[in-house]
Amino acid sequence: MENQGPALEVLLHRIAETPDDFLALPKIGNTGEVSVPAVVHDLCERLGAPVKAEALASFAGTDPKKDRNRLSIALLLAWVLADDWFAGIHPTTTQVLDLLGPTSVQLAQHAASTKYLNDPDRREEVARLVLAHFGYRPAGESKAQAQDRLTSLSLVERERVLRAAREAEARARTIREALAKKAAEESADKWTRE
């Protein structure tokens, strides 16, 4: 969240005004209407982030019961990203797919897609998560304010923060163990010693 993005209200309004095409049921097997891989492909084109067909496979889904909610959320996020502002920050393909894939899965674990559309707090969560994903915060907010608000609103963010802390501790432990090994103690040749 190093950089300032658009005003929060702009994104909240965009989410509230999500058109029917992005609210229709995702196509999974013989059910549903919207092909999510096609939407993601078109979005990537629009954002200038080229994507290969095989990278879109997970957006097809196989089990309507299991996949519908996360794909509906992916459609909602795709609508948010289709705003012109996002094309201007030139996101990478990986960034886009990470948001529509894993982040949709995480959001789906906590609420139905309709809630992210209709509940004001959940709408705000989506808006803030999307901005934070690309390293931005809402216009007019400090980094600390934006982080505090996101953490208090979002279970997904709280889980991410916890996961990051666990990963950081695991990494620090690995480094300490590596430095304590006999091989590390033996060190290596320097022509002078301090």
């Binding site: 006999k182 091989a183 040749d189 301090e194």
Partner: protein, 452 residues
């Protein structure tokens, strides 16, 4: 001390038959010391090639920046630190929005608290090595490093030697360097330097306890005939006493203040230049003393040197303060405004940064017999002409002075007179000669509270 988990293949991954015979020569020589440890260069072939390229770049690089400015690479380096190093990231600052001068400084205590937080996320941990320092500040350090970093030291040594017109020539079948120590306990081993066609490297302890016969020391070193000796003023004082017949092409001194008196004596004894390197485990070789430049000339092209006042504000060239480092070649320990605990002012000589009046440790104020307060640097200047390996000066609460020293060649009376000239004829001075100091020493101390 050998570990069955570590093989010679790990220690010397590129070792050839020539290298093997060099190791045998160093280890099995009839006059060899008792080698107590094992170590090696640990360099892969790819790293050997990379170390050669690094050396080429370092030796020809322009070191420095315009006075009162910052080097071009600095901003990108700072941003990289904030993106990848946990300790700096935890400052929670936007590095693109603050100047370098506004960034918090880093202390030895920070490194001592948790070195893992200084290793960038991008560094693989499998081949980390460590360097330990005992220090004199109550903060012993264990520093993360890598075999390539250790090998990179040589590039800066060569850059320093270039200033004195010395190009190292030794290669296959010859001994490139002997690292000389003089301690009760010392890490000793043999190795080869692959970037110099496996010339020999021996790290030895001149203390008689490490030799079957003390007479072996000169015989062994003459047999090795190294191109360079590296060590500190104390170990070089011992080396100078040995009846060596062969001469090195240079001596590289690190770790302690090398007084000009001893330097001159060593240069005469060995008939070669003696380079006084300012070097530390945290940053490697930083600068080399050069009379023409009037101080220690910076050696690293990717190391920015600031001089700070106690509040952390940057001082202009010419003003004395704490040497503070940003950058460095240890990619396992990128330094951001690291306060070294050493003091100097910054000058520029022909465009190169020079550390003027370099002194380890914060300044200590001494009171003269006339009640005038003087900086310890005055003492250093007064003792410069004398051949002293190592010394400490302490002022007691009653104002009396105690000089403890490893005398080497200097005359006690002459040193006493030099101190009396500085402190006044009535100054009480006791001088104690010691055989050696144990561990690192704090050179200047005082029980008198400074009253400006």
């Amino acid at each position: 001390m050998s570990d069955p988990d570590i093989s010679d293949r790990d220690r010397y991954p590129t070792l050839s038959a020539h290298g093997q015979s060099m190791l045998r020569f160093l280890q099995e020589h009839p006059h060899a010391p008792i080698y107590r440890n094992q170590s090696g260069n640990r360099l892969t072939l790819e790293e050997v090639n990379r170390a050669r390229a690094f050396e080429k770049r370092v030796r020809s690089a322009r070191v420095g920046w315009e006075p009162q400015t910052e080097p071009e690479w600095l901003r990108a380096f700072v941003e990289e630190c904030f993106a990848t190093v946990p300790f700096y990231r935890n400052h929670r600052l936007d590095p693109t929005r603050v100047s370098v001068q506004e960034l918090p400084t880093t202390s030895r205590a920070d490194l001592s608290h948790d070195i893992a937080a200084f290793v960038p996320d991008t560094v693989p941990t499998a081949r980390l090595i460590n360097f330990r320092t005992s220090g004199t500040t109550g903060h012993p350090l264990l520093l993360a490093s890598h075999p390539f970093v250790a090998a990179s030291y040589l590039a800066f040594h060569k850059r320093a030697l270039d200033r004195f017109g010395i190009e190292l020539r030794h290669g296959r079948g010859q001994v490139g360097v002997v690292l000389v120590g003089y301690q009760q306990k010392c890490f000793t081993y043999v190795s080869v330097t692959p970037t110099m066609d496996e010339s020999g490297l021996a790290k030895i302890n001149l203390h008689p306890a490490d030799w079957r016969d003390p007479e072996d020391r000169a015989k062994y070193l003459d047999a090795l005939n190294p191109e360079v000796y590296t060590g500190d003023p104390l170990s070089f004082s011992q080396l100078a006493q040995l009846p060596l017949k062969r001469r090195p092409r240079a001596l590289l001194s690190t770790s302690m203040t090398l007084l000009p008196g001893l330097k001159t004596e060593l240069e005469q004894r060995f008939a070669c230049p003696v380079l006084d390197l300012y070097s530390m485990n945290e940053a490697g070789p930083i600068a080399v003393a050069n009379d023409a430049a009037g101080g220690h000339v910076a050696l690293q092209d990717r190391l920015f040197i600031e001089i700070l006042d106690p509040s952390g504000a940057r001082l202009p060239p010419g003003q004395r303060g704490e040497i503070t480092l940003t950058g460095g070649f240890n990619f396992c320990l990128p330094l951001l405004r690291y306060r070294t605990g050493d003091y100097a002012s910054l000058g520029f000589h022909r465009g190169e940064p020079v550390l003027l009046g370099l002194e380890g440790r914060p300044p200590v104020m001494f009171r003269t017999d006339a009640g005038i307060w003087i900086n310890n640097i005055e003492v250093t200047h007064a003792l410069k002409p004398y051949s002293i390996s190592q010394y400490t000066l302490h002022q007691q609460a009653d104002g009396s002075l105690q000089l403890r020293w490893v005398r080497h060649g200097a005359a006690t009376d002459a040193v006493r007179r030099a101190l009396e000239t500085l402190f006044g004829a009535g100054q009480a001075i006791t001088i104690h000669e010691v055989v050696r100091f144990e561990g690192k020493i704090v050179q200047y101390t005082s029980d008198l509270p400074f009253q400006p």
